[in-house]
């Protein structure tokens, strides 16, 4: 499993190198080159997570990949996960020449936690199909972000920003909404927070 992470990391580094060295790549290869990167704290995709992102449509629609890790503690070995997020950012406001505000980013995400103990429930010799109705290794979420960024005049990084994220994940939504639990639980039980930085190449 870990080997896969190293491969992803190497591919990420390679793609940045390609971008830095070769500006005459074919248009298809260019599309694979990340147009940015992000690092995040918390948000249910690792204590820290990092990865590339791609501008899919006019800098309004982005796809983000993040590899996340929750470090080892007295209770558990490290938890590794991979997340994919699709983010829609309709507006960009210029506060001044170099400072920008993205007041609303909305998106959906999937987080996959690696490890046999999270995926063994798919083993049909131990569990009948659908014995546990939810996917144990994969979580589905939606999120809102607000970001402030600053432009730079460098070759490599054109813009860098800080964002704050509020997300809602499937199991939390289920726990809150099923069986009239909203009468008992605070709406805060629905929410997960995260914060991060983002760079635009």
């Amino acid at each position: 499993m870990r080997r896969r992470h190293y491969i992803l990391l190497i591919l990420f580094c390679l793609s940045i190198t390609v971008r830095a060295q070769d500006s005459s790549s074919s248009s298809f290869a260019k599309k694979l080159i990340p147009t940015g990167a992000q690092g995040q704290f918390a948000g249910n995709i690792g204590m820290v997570s990092i990865g590339p992102n791609w501008n899919l449509y006019k800098k309004k629609l982005h796809l983000e990949y993040s590899f996340g890790i929750v470090p080892e503690n007295e209770f558990l070995k490290p938890i590794y996960s991979s997340a994919l997020k699709l983010r829609f950012t309709p507006w960009k406001f210029d506060i001044d020449d170099k400072t920008h505000l993205y007041p609303v980013s909305l998106g959906i995400g999937i987080n996959y936690t690696y490890g046999e103990r999270y995926s063994k429930y798919n083993n049909t010799s131990q569990y009948e199909r659908g014995y546990y109705w939810w996917t144990t290794a994969m979580r589905f979420g939606s999120f809102y972000q607000i970001e402030i960024s600053r432009s730079f005049d460098t070759e490599f990084i054109k813009e860098a920003g800080l964002y704050f994220e509020t997300s809602i994940w499937d199991l939390d939504l289920y726990n809150y909404s099923a069986n009239e639990n909203y009468k008992q639980l605070s709406y805060m039980e629905l929410l997960t927070l995260g914060a991060g930085f983002r760079v635009y190449f």
Partner: protein, 267 residues
């Protein structure tokens, strides 16, 4: 620069204002604080003999995903006079995640009497096995109250891929064997012995073991979410299955001498 300053201030304020445990790392993270640890043993230590010949118990189980129902049950349980303690028959949580464990404990700790829990299959999912061990303690354990021995046994065989150690029959036999040390024994577990999730190769062993010694009073289970009582047949140990607290229901059990009475409380 003014707007940036105010925005940054807003940013920092919102970060500090919202409590830090909302910055969750992963649904399967485990990072328990002291107040959420070793609850079964702490609650066993809280048991006090009322001096009465009759033990009064409330039985709940399968509180998974029923936070509102569990809260209603807690309010009702707190109205019982002379309640000695509460038995939870497992499946505290649905997805085995720490957050659920904390939420349900925050509800159950409002019970004035101690509650003591056996592990259920849902409690074991993902890192739930780890969370249960830290929060509640061992999967198999016993305690004695007023001369009655309560034997909590892990019967969630499917979660252990039907290992020959689940349930641990030789351990169960040892607990029952010293019949001079208790008046009556009560065996508590989550998966009932006739359920598909019970280890089929140990089904007869379990049945024979609890019936091997003369003073086993009753076997209490959960898992089915439906209250049921199977009376003693040919002198064998009777079975009682708890309800889930879907609508706040629980079972009231009274034990005296070698007898007991039970009642499903629904309002």
């Amino acid at each position: 620069m003014k707007p940036i300053k105010s925005l940054s201030l807003f940013f920092v304020m919102s970060l500090t204002y919202l409590s830090c445990d909302k910055f969750e790392y992963n649904h399967y993270q485990v990072d328990l604080s002291e107040e959420y640890m070793d609850i079964n043993q702490q609650n066993i230590n809280r048991l006090r003999n009322s001096g009465s010949d009759t033990i009064t118990l409330a039985l709940i189980g399968d509180s998974q995903r029923f936070y509102e129902g569990a809260s209603i049950a807690v309010d009702r349980i707190n109205k019982i006079d002379n309640l000695d303690f509460v038995i939870h028959t497992g499946d505290l949580v649905d997805f085995g995640i720490q957050k659920e464990y904390k939420l349900i404990h925050d509800i159950l700790k409002e019970i004035k009497a101690p509650y003591i829990t056996v592990i259920g299959n849902h409690d074991l999912i993902g890192n739930g096995s780890k969370v249960f061990r830290e929060m509640y303690g061992p999967y198999d354990f016993t305690f004695t109250f007023n001369g009655y021995k309560f034997i909590y046994l892990n019967t969630n065989a499917r979660e252990f891929n039907f290992s020959q150690n689940v349930p641990d029959i030789s351990w169960l036999d040892q607990q029952l064997a010293d019949t001079s040390s208790y008046k009556q024994a009560i065996v508590v577990n989550h998966v009932p012995y006739d359920n598909d999730d019970f280890n089929p190769s140990l089904r007869d062993d379990y049945f024979n073991t609890i019936n091997k010694y003369p003073n086993t009073l009753i076997s209490i289970n959960g898992h089915n979410h439906n209250f049921a009582f199977r009376p003693s047949m040919a002198g064998n140990v009777p079975f009682l299955n708890t309800s889930s607290p879907e609508n706040g229901e629980f079972v009231l059990l009274k034990i005296w001498d070698d007898k007991f009475s039970y009642r499903l409380v629904t309002n």
